[in-house]
Assembly symmetry: C2
Homo-oligomer: 257 residues x 2
DNA sequence: GCAAAAGTGTTTTCATTACACCCATGA
DNA sequence: TCATGGGTGTAATGAAAACACTTTTGC
């Protein structure tokens, strides 16, 4: 067994570079979108190289800030892609991340020629970026079921219709309005504000804000927060927790489910 | 935005090294154990450095083989720890993995002075290895709930009592025998063999083998396979899938839940 | 016969699902 | 007045949970 202190390069530590990719999701026009930048006759994810004096997380936030402005954005590590032949020439190990931004942040996308693409119709992508996006999408769908990450795709104030649309768009299935609202109510994860939104047409909608919920003591397995399985559903929360008015909260960086 | 092709070192790609750690779990004496090797006046996880010409996954398997022998072992990437000051001297980014081996493989641990430690009473650990183990444990607990990874901790033939013990030991809670067995039966994930096991004392137990289940088409969110939440439970599977005789199967490498 | 582990059903509870109509507003 | 999205309750289903006694073996 190699020494745990790893006293410097043993084999050829030669040419391994560590990079970071970020899959930035948002919702526009009732569809899930990903941010891409033009790259080598195709499109690619925002990325950057990890510097010797910075945390991998820092690199990810920098890559993100380059294209999506700063502000505090929800970001989580996704997976490390370490195949030898990922990049044609050099050896790059890439720590992929994914981020969720709300539709109002995205307008500040400012820099570069970066563009939002609907995940349903992606352009030709560089390297293995297609695979990374697929993976991020799977993770996002899973995570939607047992955490409250979904709110990261909404602005501070939103209607219950907005919220339901987030779920429907990502899961790809329509849900029953009454069941959805009942579950949200039951979970106690939103609070009505004093405002309403008049949307040009139709009855004005109550605006809500997200309420973080107390994390339970030491719970190993997350209980599905919003069920995403069959035909209609929404959350699924253990009766025990509900009685205590709690819900499992997954700390960012919880990795693969 | 940096170019997606990353034409070689841009900043100081100087001294970043990429390593791999593996948290190897097994069950001994009705307790979850982790494999550790002596390192620098403390103990450390099996590890190695990624070579320029090998996949990260390959490095992990090599580190694993060094201490636990070869054989095909269930292994999954856990998380990449990329803090600047993880290691005192050099800059090492570490791609942590975790592996599950059955109690019979572990006797072949052979090499080195590696030892099995109960997770409940770990020794002093090197670097951030304690944190990595904690993280792996959380992941294992979560994953137990909605996949069939638990079987990786058992030999090819096992009793239902063995299986239940795996769950109880990892989740840390006793379960009801009848409910457990009913759920396992319902899921159809085990098949009885022709053999029984006489264990010295008590009635002989039927031996079963694990049966992989058909993965459903394109399911995003996993349905809890074995519930791990409240006081007794076991599985929780969607009625739809159950009727079709299917269960969600998570492909290894599914990352953070 | 006794200690020890294996094996086996029923009832209650509660989350999930399915389902249809009225309300408030702008044009 | 009409088109559009917002808002609301109830009944059926089925998984999860609680619970105790009999069986088979070795000593």
């Amino acid at each position: 067994m190699p020494d745990t202190n790893r006293p410097g390069p043993q084999h050829e530590t030669t040419a391994i570079q560590v990079g970071v990719e970020v899959v930035v999701f948002t919702i526009r026009d009732d569809a899930l979108h990903v941010l891409l930048a033009p790259a080598a006759a195709a499109w690619g994810l925002p990325n950057d190289t990890v510097r010797a004096d910075e945390t991998v997380d820092t690199t990810a936030r920098r890559a993100l800030a380059d294209v999506a402005g700063s502000g505090d954005v929800w970001l989580e590590q996704l997976y490390t892609f370490g195949d030898v032949h990922r990049a044609p020439d050099s050896r790059i190990i890439s720590v992929a991340h994914y981020a969720l931004v709300s539709a109002d942040v995205l307008t500040a996308t400012g820099s570069d020629a970066a563009r939002w693409w609907p995940v349903a119709t992606l352009p030709l992508l560089v390297l293995d970026h297609r695979r990374i996006i697929d993976y991020a999408l799977t993770r996002l769908r899973n995570k939607l079921a047992y955490t409250t990450v979904g709110f990261q795709l909404l602005p501070a104030r939103f209607t219950l219709g907005d919220l339901q649309r987030v779920y429907e768009v990502i899961i790809g299935r329509d849900m029953d309005k009454r069941n959805f609202r009942r579950k949200v109510e039951l979970l106690g994860i939103v609070k009505p504000t004093r405002e309403q939104r008049v949307s040009g047409t139709g009855r004005p909608a109550q605006l809500y804000r997200f309420v973080a919920i107390e994390a339970p003591e030491a719970i190993g397995a997350p209980e599905p927060l919003m069920s995403t399985q069959p035909a209609v559903q929404l959350a699924r929360i253990s009766p025990v927790l509900r009685r205590r008015g709690r819900v499992i909260q997954i700390t960012p960086g919880e990795g693969t489910r």
